[in-house]
């Protein structure tokens, strides 16, 4: 038995690097510090859902073949295609992504990653107006106002609050975990009292109503009192102790999420009204008056209180998610959010960070940009990189039925694309590289099993704040298994060999 410390978790964009694994007989048996998704990944990586051998579809059925045969078949498909798609890349390491760019250029295909159905609009928003941002370490130590807008980290990034925001002890800001527990205890007490009252017929509980969006009285309490201790050695601790109210947590969403339950203030907006609310907040930050009483389901009076809190904080941060990028307005919502941060920075210190989903989606955008100049939706069909979201984005290409082959790696588009787009993906020859038998692999034509990055292969991944972190190899992969990088490299070599033979034949 051995214990491996400081393992980086290869699940979500948080990339928690404090995981402790117990390894027995070459298998992970215990996990310390991980969230539910982390435990699920480390404990289930070797179940029956793992692909055991390369597969090729013959007579409608996937049959086992050798790596050599699968590599040759894949290279043939890609070399003979005139407009192939190379999609995915977010759950593998930067080393494999780098080979992917080379392969896309070689076959003249379209290189796109999962950001296209995730934070692609965020990238477009950033390209419009730039982004004032920070690392999660800075936020952990300094941010006294945390706003989650259109995202639910409790469900999608379970340790985000615990490691980087409200529930972590920073150097200058204390954890709000205890006050949250007290709130939960009080809420349980209230529920018990109402339950007893209901049983005795004293009180009839009505159906829950939509949030009235009224800010609690505690929201506008000062975040810091004057620090009277001038001794540098103990100053930070004293400061924390004299705080009357620590970090504030505000959640803006269309429904009350798990994260909203933990928030000091939850603002329930109407679906698709984020842009309007943000514009209203921007006007209020600029001390303009609004001639309406309500915007997007929220009273202007309450928005004014929210703006007071934003302006009076010392270091605020907005984390945003799919609530902005997938709703009406899409990249304009993000652009507006960033513009709001710009306005707020005229009054105080504010930053903004997208809540990236897959553990290395940020890495994919970074590697693609470093190699080609563009972060996603890169079309190499003209022999040079071309980027035009809406035209070169993979969902649009599939909807227009333009592609004639596809290589999908470390993602599951058949699960996650609209049905019409997935239909064309399945109709054309489909190569899938993934450790597990996901939905895309089930309908694929060539399926490669690969070693799991971050468990069976070391590599590099970028956290959501663009900090690169090393991924560890903690166990050996099953015998004979190749990594994503090796599979791609061998397909690339085979494509080059086939093309050179074709050239010789033509001459």
């Amino acid at each position: 038995m051995s214990i491996v410390k400081s393992v980086t978790c290869p699940v979500c964009g948080c990339l928690c690097d404090d995981i402790e694994l117990t390894i027995e007989d070459g298998k992970v048996t215990q996990i310390k510090n991980g969230c539910a998704m982390c435990e699920s990944k480390f404990l289930n990586y070797m179940t029956e859902h793992r692909t055991k051998t390369p597969l090729i579809r013959k007579d409608g059925k996937l049959v086992p073949v050798s790596y050599e045969e699968a590599i040759h078949k894949s290279a043939e498909i890609l070399a003979n295609a005139s407009y192939p798609i190379l999609y995915g890349w977010s759950s593998t390491d930067c080393e494999a992504q780098r080979v992917g760019v080379e392969l896309a250029e070689e076959v003249g295909g379209v290189l796109d990653n999962t950001a296209v159905v995730c934070h692609g609009p965020s990238i477009l928003g950033v390209q419009e107006v730039g982004i004032p941002t920070a690392t999660l370490g800075q936020i952990r130590h300094r941010a006294d106002l945390i706003i989650y807008w259109g995202c639910d980290p409790w469900s999608a990034h379970p340790r985000h609050l615990e490691r980087y925001t409200s529930f972590t002890d920073g150097r200058f800001e204390a954890s709000e975990w205890k006050s949250y527990l007290n709130k939960v205890k009080a809420s349980v007490g209230m529920k018990k009292r109402s339950s007893v009252a209901r049983r005795r017929g004293l009180y009839c509980e009505s159906a829950e109503t939509v949030s009235d969006n009224k800010p609690p009285e505690t929201l506008n309490m000062p975040t810091h009192t004057v620090c009277v201790n001038n001794n540098p050695a103990t100053m930070n601790k004293e400061c924390v102790r004299t705080c009357t109210q620590g970090r504030k947590l505000i959640v803006v969403d269309v429904r009350k999420t798990m994260t909203a339950n933990a928030a000091d203030y939850f603002i329930q907006v109407k679906p698709g009204k984020d842009y309007e609310i943000m514009q209203a907040i921007r006007a209020l930050v600029k001390e303009e008056e609004l001639d309406v009483d309500e915007v997007g389901g929220v009273s202007v009076e309450y928005l004014e209180e929210l703006v007071d809190v934003m302006i009076n904080c010392q270091f605020g941060v907005i984390f945003f998610g799919m609530g902005l990028t997938q709703s009406a307005g899409k990249f304009r919502n993000v652009e507006d959010a960033i513009s709001l941060i710009r306005d707020l920075n005229m009054r105080t210190k504010f930053v903004i960070i997208p809540m990236r989903g897959h553990f290395n989606v940020t890495g994919a955008n970074t590697v693609f940009t470093w190699q080609s100049g563009y972060p996603y939706a890169i079309d190499f069909s003209l022999g040079y990189p071309k980027y035009n979201p809406g035209e070169t984005t993979v969902v649009d290409i599939l909807l227009r039925k333009e592609s004639d082959a596809a290589l999908v790696i470390a993602s599951d588009p058949v699960s996650n694309f609209p049905r019409k787009a997935a239909e064309h993906l399945v109709k054309t020859p489909l190569i899938v590289i993934d450790p597990h038998m996901n939905v895309t692999a089930m309908v694929g034509d060539v399926v490669f099993p690969s070693s799991i990055v971050g468990i069976e292969k070391a590599g590099t991944a970028y956290r959501m704040d663009h900090v690169p972190l090393p991924l560890k190899k903690v166990v050996e992969p099953p015998e004979g298994f190749l990594s994503d990088e090796e599979i791609l490299q061998r397909i690339l070599e085979e494509v080059r060999r086939i093309k050179s033979q074709e050239k010789k034949g033509a001459n």
């Binding site: 699920s40 009350k256 997938q326 969902v395």
Partner: protein, 133 residues
């Protein structure tokens, strides 16, 4: 009065159960359970005359799918239906990319009706129905 159909706004997104299920395997029962449900507001369920865990048919211009209706446990969300990401949700989401590549996964209109006698398709049945594979 019980209604036959209800117009709602379709939202899709993450849940922790779906996240755990996808890491365990897309063919697992956990993934199936967590992606074949739809959170609804209790008042909307009463309007349709359905109870918790009753099957419903959700229809959009892009298709229809049978799912289990589950009462949303945290607060109200009237006029909304929330389906976790997965092959079932994506069989009905809008493919309108508004010229930037991103399909409209949230905020599109949908229609919900009770379907207590219709079964939720398994993953294999769904793939066979959609792609013939």
């Amino acid at each position: 009065m019980v209604q036959q159909k209800l117009q709602v706004t379709l939202l899709t997104g993450r849940t922790i159960e779906q996240g755990v299920g996808k890491e365990a395997g897309k063919a697992t029962q956990g993934y199936f359970e967590s992606t074949t449900m739809a959170y609804m507001d209790i008042c909307d369920m009463k309007k349709l005359g359905i109870k918790n865990q009753t099957n419903i048919l959700v229809t959009t211009p892009n298709g229809s799918v049978v799912l289990r209706a589950v009462k949303y446990p945290r607060g109200a969300m009237p006029g909304m239906i929330y389906i976790p990401y997965g092959p079932w949700a994506n069989s009905i989401v809008s493919n309108e990319t508004t010229s930037i590549g991103m399909p409209s996964f949230r905020g599109t209109p949908a229609e919900v009706e009770p379907a207590p006698d219709k079964p939720v398709l398994t993953l294999k049945e769904l793939l066979m129905k959609q792609f013939g594979k």
